[in-house]
Symmetry: C2
Subunit: 268 residues, 2 copies
Amino acid sequence: MGMISLRHVNEMRPDEVRALIRKGEITGPTAGMAGGFTQANLVILKKELAFEFLLFCQRNQKPCPILDVTDPGSPVPSITAPDADIRTDFPKYRVYKRGELADEVTDISSLWEDDMVGFLIGCSFTFEQALINNGIPVRHIEEKRNVPMYQTNIPCVPAGRFQGPMVVSMRPVPEEQAVRAVQVTSRFPAVHGGPVHIGSPETIGITDITSPDFGDAVTIKKGEVPVFWACGVTPQAVAMHVKPELMITHSPGHMLVTDVRDEQFGVL
Amino acid sequence: MGMISLRHVNEMRPDEVRALIRKGEITGPTAGMAGGFTQANLVILKKELAFEFLLFCQRNQKPCPILDVTDPGSPVPSITAPDADIRTDFPKYRVYKRGELADEVTDISSLWEDDMVGFLIGCSFTFEQALINNGIPVRHIEEKRNVPMYQTNIPCVPAGRFQGPMVVSMRPVPEEQAVRAVQVTSRFPAVHGGPVHIGSPETIGITDITSPDFGDAVTIKKGEVPVFWACGVTPQAVAMHVKPELMITHSPGHMLVTDVRDEQFGVL
């Protein structure tokens, strides 16, 4: 980031961060940028799949909490960041053709077509900040790793061609703070909400907690219980199985910084 | 209802109520039936409008809280009442052709087409029960009237062809209970959630509180403040303006009794 320090970027407004991303001056992960503002995942599909995908998200709100949907052909997320452009304002994108990763780019303007629909999906950054604000440790942040994510045996509710198991993220929580972790994250249904499972990984089909399907393993200390939240990787994984002609997502960790404050998604 | 007393129906299971409705033995309003279970409003549209309407609801969740969407061509609300049939299990339907009321019927099987999509939308019965359980009076129930509803100057977020102002329902609440009314109803974002306005009707474009646009006027006593919630009439009113070739809705007060308990929609 050259002369731009992370502390400086943490204190920037969302539109300032997006301007730097758009100019190519920020190309890395967005964690910690424009502190207090919600960041969003991205799935772009052609309009012919948009109804089924929106329906899938509507039926599976815990893994797929929709924050904004662009009008077909419009790159503007008019509710969450009306002066943003989803073609340029994520630091990095993944381009999938028929379900296979075809390219990773920092700008998708040249790929944009007028029947594309962008789905912005809530991400766990929002509730992790709430956990930290409540004195609940977030291990993968402490250990500077990616959150561990696992395929489960929990089926999503299908919608048309979209179907598949839920992916969850795991955070070890001291047993005496597990109830508070449920309360804190339940306030934020728009960003995955309360956990889907507490305790035994086997119950939800995870055979080896030390070897996550995505992300990195983290330390589970004595006296800690694994707590599982529905994960925003789910809709991408499910969409990938449909093998759409073209699908574009953000690269992991490279999100859109929206104009909405995390607390604005709090229910009470 | 012949030999079926209302008290008896209040204690029935949802599937028992639906069976009586399907057989034509119940054709009246469903208020008070299968107590504790959520009732749902209905909008049926052809698939070509389904994406835009679902997007409209997604963007306007307070007036348009989606509980379930049927697969195109399927009359089964698989999430909220998997053994129900939306063609027969509402006591009464309204059929709109190009935005005009064309018919009111008790069964729409003969109108059903294989590109139809049914949207079940949360209704205020759920949060009214929560208000009553908290000792907050609900005036229109006390006065045995329909809830008063008003057009406002609050614009909905448009989606494609769907746009228009929010319709709100009003309940007078004793000033000292207004905060509790906000708390109680905020627990239920799936059924309109917290109020959209408290106090002066003029602020939201209502010029005469004694003459509602839909439903009946109710008494506002000294020391009471009018509290306004987003109303499920909004999506019907908005859809009507689009003048779809065919739209079918429930008749006011004649809802589907689902298998989901009211409390299951509570956030914490």
